[in-house]
Symmetry: C2
Subunit: 231 residues, 2 copies
């Protein structure tokens, strides 16, 4: 299903939302939650790495990796390398972000892996890694036969889309879970921090929607290869 509109315009909206998202999660961490740290006596500072790394590292870079095929004016091989590299960085930052959550739980004596957010999170990172390895082996190195590539491509796009939707949804579960804990500890339900967290979650959904609009749109940017065009 192709959408009769230009990928480039959708990707601009997505980049704008990505910048807004990064700003919002940093304002939340530094202004409202005391900043970030890997080693600290205040274990909340370790936790704060989790939303920052998952949102900026995993969701934003993962979305840019997905869009790179449709929104960049390079040839196919260059775009493939960018796609692969951005997803690799997203995956590594995602793993470090999950590690930060476990580190916070373990050092604070909190239970691990009981909530839907944690279950889906483990599922998403495992499926993302499987998808990356499959993509690397079949489309990059050593590379499958042209038959395998052609038959794999729609499933690669479909499975990748499914995992990315799960990732975006899981960020919303995480924001809701954290905010529910904060509100049950006395944070005002209609206060500025609560609104900031909820608006960040909604902007994350919109970012995901514009990533998919970019992918589904039917026009790709022209390849500027400095050659003459036939008139």
């Amino acid at each position: 299903m192709a959408i009769p509109a230009k990928a480039l315009y959708f990707s601009f909206v997505a980049h704008f939302l990505a910048a807004a998202l990064a700003a919002m999660v940093l304002v939340w961490s530094f202004h409202f939650r005391g900043g970030l740290a890997w080693e600290a006596t205040d274990k909340n500072l370790i936790f704060n790495l989790h939303p920052v790394l998952m949102l900026i590292g995993f969701i934003i870079l993962g979305g840019e990796a997905i869009m790179s095929y449709k929104s960049l004016p390079f040839n196919k091989e260059v775009k493939k390398t960018i796609h692969l590299a951005l997803h690799a960085v997203a995956l590594v930052l995602g793993i470090v972000g999950i590690w930060a959550a476990f580190k916070n739980h373990n050092e604070s004596g909190l239970a691990n892996l009981y909530s839907l957010h944690s279950w889906l999170g483990i599922g998403v990172i495992v499926l993302y890694a499987i998808q990356w390895i499959y993509g690397f082996v079949v489309f990059f190195y050593p590379g499958g036969t042209s038959n395998i590539r052609r038959e794999s491509l729609p499933w690669h796009v479909l499975f990748g889309s499914f995992v990315y939707v799960l990732a975006v949804g899981n960020v919303c579960l995480g924001f809701l879970e954290k905010l529910t804990f904060l509100e049950s500890s006395g944070l005002y339900k209609y206060g500025s921090e609560a609104f900031l967290i909820n608006f960040t979650a909604i902007a994350t959904i919109l970012y995901g929607a514009f990533v998919f609009l970019t992918v589904l749109s039917s026009h790709t940017p022209p390849l500027d290869d400095h050659s003459y065009s036939a008139i």
Copy 2:
């Protein structure tokens, strides 16, 4: 993007998951949460209507409405009527389900509309209603010109998919929110009720995935119009 596989097989898996989901949410409501009621001194029984109506009424019927175009062996006009009617029933049951949540909050003295789940829920039901009205007017009665229909169709599918993904995701937010409240009131984090709720949420995601696999698959069932086929 069409998937080279048969819609019918995916829709069978979706129907099976729908039956399992309905059973799970009813077991939760009746076995663990004391059953359903519209008027009750135990206001929790009013709340229990909310997940049952949203899951069975809104998500399951909404998914069946989406799949009906690809999975039923009828002609286009019959399938269009079924699609429209199932979505109408889903919408009405969804509105009653949301009404039950407000009724429970108001009679229990709980705050309304502060959580991401409530915000997205209002957004989803409004977008769903807009989509239904647009579909009715353009594709059913009085019906747009063939040009408007042709240009509307990809956007109708895309916008409908977006709203349905939001609906499925919002069910997960709801399960997480309710379970977090129950656990903060002492429910065992690794107990059978907690597992049932989390498994219901994951089965809801799988149902949504199979609804989309049905829609994206390239084969539709043959139209059994009792005519002879050319050999």
